[in-house]
């Protein structure tokens, strides 16, 4: 393994070592030593990942190519070799860094958080278990990040699910917690069911479970006109390839809490707040998006549309429900679901880079807000109801300020002309820009594609429109990009081949030259009616107004206004161990918005260059845009967006403050006026109730039927046959044998006996009788001898 791979693999294994150590010795280490062991482990991982990141950014294309070794054989399924290896590319590196960095912050926070928590239940300390699970989680999550095959992804996928289960159920003495844990795991398993079937289809059609290999074979199959892409060969008018992509995406639906499997995430807030921050906001739930990014090359246009629609539905439902939540963690949970929906939408419309960029920025600001809420909850003695808070800014200034950073970031606040903004301003707006492009810019899109090579298309685009002033962050980052990143397009072609790491298909020739028909057909066949694409743009834009509203509502209710519950207010406090990580994350939010993160993601997009169905849309002038074969969208999209969402955050904020500025009175009136709608939202569109009746009830009925069948029919038949055998044996034994056969035997005996009795009668022991008999007999014989001879 190359040094960078070694850093990463060691970085994965250190948390595992921490897990093993804590699992065996955690109880003895006690509080808070066990917590610090975990912090140490993840900090070491973080250090290694920083080193890897540093080295990676200082490597040229050839060096990066050489840094990737493997894959290694893990097992054989039939005759197919299943491999594992490190999926070493820019995306992995930056994801790895993000996960370890945020984890470190959260682990430190956890030590502070747990310090104030009674961790004894029935006099049994569970303190070390918490950090044991956290270590296991980090191991699994990092394994997921570096996984280079669908199989390894699936394995780590399930392991993070396990950790999520264990951590949601950390307070398992509460029934609600253990139920939420179970719900999370089983809901995820439903998604995994689809994922397994998808894996099966990949294996059948592509005979390879490694990401690179499957992508290569997928492209070859497309080039060869395989029936895989024939709608007639699949079900319901969708080609097998589409089904494959949609089923693989099912796993992401579960893990990223997308509609219709989103129901577990709000309940998952039963876990300790740091867990909610780490797993259920920043990292694990984003794994679904990460997975979608990794399998993006296997998604047909129809499957991409499916992804986009699911994302759009999710972000809408969740944003609406978030408006009426009163539990601070539930607001954040629903906002997480909604933001994940944005990412999925981005994936679906082809904004690969933007979606992942949003993932990264979101990870920072959502972890920030969750930890902030943890600080609030902890400071307020486990009060989670925002209606009882208010005015906390005096007591928790740092928390209040950092939380506001998160609110601004998620709201996409920024000043369009000045190119200043935070988080969502760049990432979410970029997703919307691409959605706009897909809705309204399709003709341009097709035109761009009709030119043979992307480099050409790029050139045309540049000549046509001219290098407009960059509106997004990337221009600012240019100075941070090493020289090797910014090469002329011509050289990029070869570099993209090189940087595609051992992927046999990623030869130096651009994709279009190898199979031009494929590329054009892939793009020209944008499925679905046009109104749908327009909806995929308009609805998220509307929701971009709702997001700032509910986030400002939460912030205002918590920190601003007058204290509504003096008991809560009087006890409120914050502690350094908990707010320092908040500061780090706030800085991280800022840095991730501007520097390093987006360019690395854009570099990671190189791997997409092998996809037949490429709808990679770029915005701005990322130095690496030419690497891949995506179509750079023109800045008209962004310009069009400024009136649409540029000031959404202002409107949302103003509305929220207008309603909640003076407490809850106005809001209560509004809720009363809109009673049916409010009730619908309060009950989260009745999904839990629906699933409870249909799915849980359905399974309960099935199990009753099955077991009844087993008990009464199958076993009944067994017992019946036993009974029949006994009846038969009784018949043959008692009736036939004892009655008839034995009766015959006994009858013979009885006859004999009777005869004997008859015969016995004369034999009474008198000698004279015997003599009489003897004499009579002799007489008969003599007479017979005398007269019988005569004849």
């Amino acid at each position: 393994m190359s040094p960078i791979e070694t850093y990463l693999v060691t970085g994965v294994l250190i948390p595992l070592a921490g897990f093993v150590l804590l699992a065996f010795l955690g109880g003895r280490l006690g509080k808070p030593a066990a917590g610090w062991v975990a912090v140490l482990a993840i900090a070491a991982s973080c250090g290694l990942s920083a080193k890897a990141l540093w080295d990676w950014t200082h490597l040229d294309a050839a060096g990066r190519l050489a840094a990737r070794t493997g894959p290694y054989e893990w097992a054989r399924l039939g005759d197919t070799v299943l491999t594992v290896g490190v999926n070493l590319d820019s995306l992995t590196i930056i994801m790895f860094f993000m996960v370890t960095l945020i984890s470190t912050c959260i682990f430190v926070f956890s030590v502070g958080y747990m310090a104030g928590h009674s961790d004894e239940i029935d006099h049994v300390s569970k303190y070390h278990r918490f950090f044991t699970y956290l270590c296991l989680f980090d191991f699994s999550m990092l394994l997921l990040v570096i996984a280079d095959s669908l199989l390894l992804l699936f394995i780590s996928w399930e392991l993070v699910g396990l950790c999520s289960y264990l951590l949601i159920g950390y307070y398992f003495h509460k029934k609600s917690a253990s139920t939420a844990a179970m719900k999370a795991f089983i809901t995820n398993r439903v998604g995994d069911l689809g994922f397994i079937i998808g894996l099966g289809l990949v294996f059948v059609h592509l005979h390879d479970l490694s990401l690179a290999g499957a992508a290569a074979k997928f492209r070859d199959a497309w080039a060869a006109g395989s029936p895989l892409f024939d709608p007639a060969a699949g079900l319901l008018g969708l080609s097998p390839a589409t089904w494959m992509g949609m089923l693989l995406f099912c796993g992401a639906i579960g893990k990223s809490a997308q509609f219709p499997l989103h129901v577990w995430l709000p309940d998952a807030m039963e876990g300790p707040t740091p867990v909610s921050a780490l797993i259920h906001a920043a990292t694990m739930v984003a794994a679904g998006v990460y997975l979608t990014a990794r399998i993006f090359v296997l998604l047909t246009p129809e499957a991409q549309l499916f992804v986009a629609v699911i994302g759009c539905i999710t972000l809408t439902l969740a944003a609406l429900v978030a408006i009426v939540q009163t539990d601070i963690k539930k607001v954040l949970a629903y906002s997480t679901i909604s933001q994940l929906g944005y990412m999925m939408l981005g994936m679906g419309v082809g904004a690969w880079i933007a979606a992942l960029f949003h993932l990264l920025t979101h990870a920072f600001f959502k972890a920030l807000m969750f930890l902030g809420s943890g600080q609030v909850i902890e400071g307020c003695h486990h009060e989670q109801d925002m209606r009882k808070m208010g005015g906390l800014w005096r007591k928790m200034p740092v928390t209040c300020a950092t939380f506001l950073v998160g609110v601004l970031a998620i709201a996409g606040a920024g000043i369009p002309a000045a190119h200043i903004g935070l988080g969502g301003y760049f990432s979410k707006d970029e997703i919307l820009a691409v959605a706009w492009h897909r809705a309204y810019g399709r003709e341009d899109h097709g035109a761009a594609q009709s030119h043979g090579s992307v480099a050409q298309a790029n050139g045309l685009w540049r000549m046509g429109k001219g290098p407009t002033a960059p509106e997004v962050s990337v221009a600012d980052i240019d100075q941070f990009i090493p020289a090797s990143w910014a090469q002329p397009p011509g050289e990029h072609a070869s570099e993209s081949g090189g940087a595609a790491h051992h992927r046999p298909v990623a030869d130096a020739t651009p994709r279009e030259e190898t199979h031009p028909g494929a590329a054009q057909a892939g793009h020209a066949r944008a499925p679905g009616p046009r109104w749908l694409w327009i909806a995929l743009f308009v609805v998220p834009v509307i929701m971009a107004y709702v997001t700032p509203f509910y986030m400002m509502r939460a912030w205002w209710l918590t920190f601003m206004g007058r204290p509504r519950d003096h008991h809560v207010y009087d006890h409120a406090h914050e502690s350094p161990l908990m707010y320092l990580p908040l500061v780090v994350l706030a800085i991280g939010t800022f840095v991730s918005s501007y520097f390093l993160f987006r360019p690395l993601v854009a570099e990671g997009a190189v791997q997409m260059s092998t996809a037949p169905f490429l709808t990679m849309l770029y915005d701005g002038e990322a130095a690496t845009a030419e690497h891949a074969h995506g179509v750079p969208i023109d800045h008209a999209a962004h310009r069009a967006l400024v009136p649409a969402v540029g000031f959404a955050f202002v409107i949302g904020f103003v509305l929220a403050i207008a309603i909640y500025g003076r407490g809850l009175a106005l809001a209560t009136k509004l809720a009363a006026a809109l009673r049916p709608l409010h009730t619908l939202l309060e009950h989260k569109f009745y999904f839990d109730e629906l699933y409870g009746v249909v799915l849980v009830g359905g399974v309960a009925a099935l199990r009753a039927v099955s077991y009844g069948f087993d008990k009464y029919v199958v076993d009944g038949l067994v017992n019946l046959s036993g009974l029949l055998t006994r009846v038969a044996s009784w018949f043959s034994g008692v009736i036939l044998d004892q009655g008839l056969v034995d009766g015959l035997v006994n009858g013979v005996g009885r006859v004999t006996y009777a005869l004997g009795g008859l015969v016995r009668r004369p034999q009474v022991g008198r000698v004279r009788n015997y003599i009489l008999f003897a004499a009579g007999s002799v007489a008969v014989v003599v007479l017979w001898a005398a007269f019988g001879r005569v004849k």
């Binding site: 179970m182 399974v699 077991y707 087993d710």
Partner: protein, 538 residues
Amino acid sequence: MEPGNLLNWLIFLPTIGAVLCLIVPGARAVKLIGVITTGATFVLSLGLFQHFAWWDATRDVFGSGYGQKLYEVTKVTWIQLSGAPIEYFVGVDGLSFPLVILTTLVTFLAALASWNFEHWKVSRGIRGYFCLFLLLETGMLGVFCALDFFLFYIFWEVMLLPMYFLIGVWGGPRKEYAAIKFFIYTLAGSVLMLVALLAFYFYAPAGHQTFDLIRLATDPAIQAAFGSALFLGLKFGPVMFVLLYIGFAIKVPVFPFHTWLPDAHVEAPTPISMILAGILLKMGAYGLLRISYPILPDAGTWAAWGLALLGVINIIYGALCAMAQTDFKRLVAYSSISHMGYVLLGLAIMTPAGFQGAMFQVIAHGISSPMCFFLVGVIYDRAHHREINRFGGLWLTMPVYGSLATLGFFASLGLPGLCGFIGEFWVLIATFSAEQWSWAQPMAILAATGVVLTAGYILWMIQRVYLGKAREEYKSFPEATAREIAVLAPFAALAIALGILPQQTLFNFMNGTLHQITNLFPAAGTTALTVAGALLGR
């Protein structure tokens, strides 16, 4: 064939121990004999590893064809018949090797689990228990090592009787019912097997008559004769396959022959449950792989979809039934039925990948299910009941035990990284990719729903038994003892090892032989016949 005496020692060492059990004075000495004998057998069985050194690239472990490389072979004439002798023919190959190791290990751990015999609420003494226990081990090892059909049959019956008494004498309240049910079921199956055994002998052409399982599978003359013969006017192959199948299916057990299993498990003492689930169930799968498929490959093709369907029914139906249970042990028993469905499904599709998955599932289940049964036994020893709904919070009361239980049940659930996953995954993917069967993909999708159901019943059980508030009546429960941990730890370690390194820990030991068995099959698709047509001899 490499001659050797190791297997003879393995098979009959427990018999010697059984005799000793009858002689030595004192209960403690009997227990010691039992544990030492099974332990020695286990250690001895490790000697087989020398033959399967896959890490030694210079070694040809599996040979060129089925039955070409057998190790520790003893082949002597036992009973001289007019046509061919009945032989004492034992040997081990990649198919039986993992099962032999599993048998000796599980039996040893079950003997350890029997150590608290005096606390059982039973009326009969320990002497008979350990004597029969050791005889049982002889029978089981014999079944896995025998390569002569007649000898196989004898060992099959040898194993049956001790089991009957172990359940019927040392069992729970309904032990007589359970024991008789078990006995009659298995006996019915073995009678059908006997018919097949005799038919194999008499339907072979003159001069080729044999009970040798390897020759039955590889002798072209015998195979040709079996291919064309008629049995009572029906095709020989399918009839024999069905007869054998019923015999083996009862052991697996396959729906609808499964209802003896929950009863037997519920009534059997914990160590016997461990053996029953860990090894006895595997004999059905082993029998199919050793006898049915190599000797009657055409019939296997004919029966494929039926077997696969039954496998899927087992998976789903077993899981649903498990969900309905309130008796902890009955739940684990039904989960066994569900898990063994994957074995049947993997076998049914008759591809190398399917066989690999099935065999892995056999071994994985042989590790996870004894562990689960012992986990149930641990709390049964303390609580003297098994009502799931009456438990709660045990993870708080007994943290170490709770953690091991979580691991064991997650292994059973098929969590990646643990042994249960590999078997299920291999079977599912193999079924998916069995393109010669048009029904394979729908079956695979149906079978995959088992993944969700399994998670459902196991997590629900965990919630009710281990999570929640610690109940007053269980707060005094002592943590798992050193002996209990010693029984659980090897299972736990193996569950992890097999889950992470399936190739090195298992596949490399058996894939060669499994491939050889699939090589005996005719080219796929050419022999697929309709049910009616095949049965009518057309």
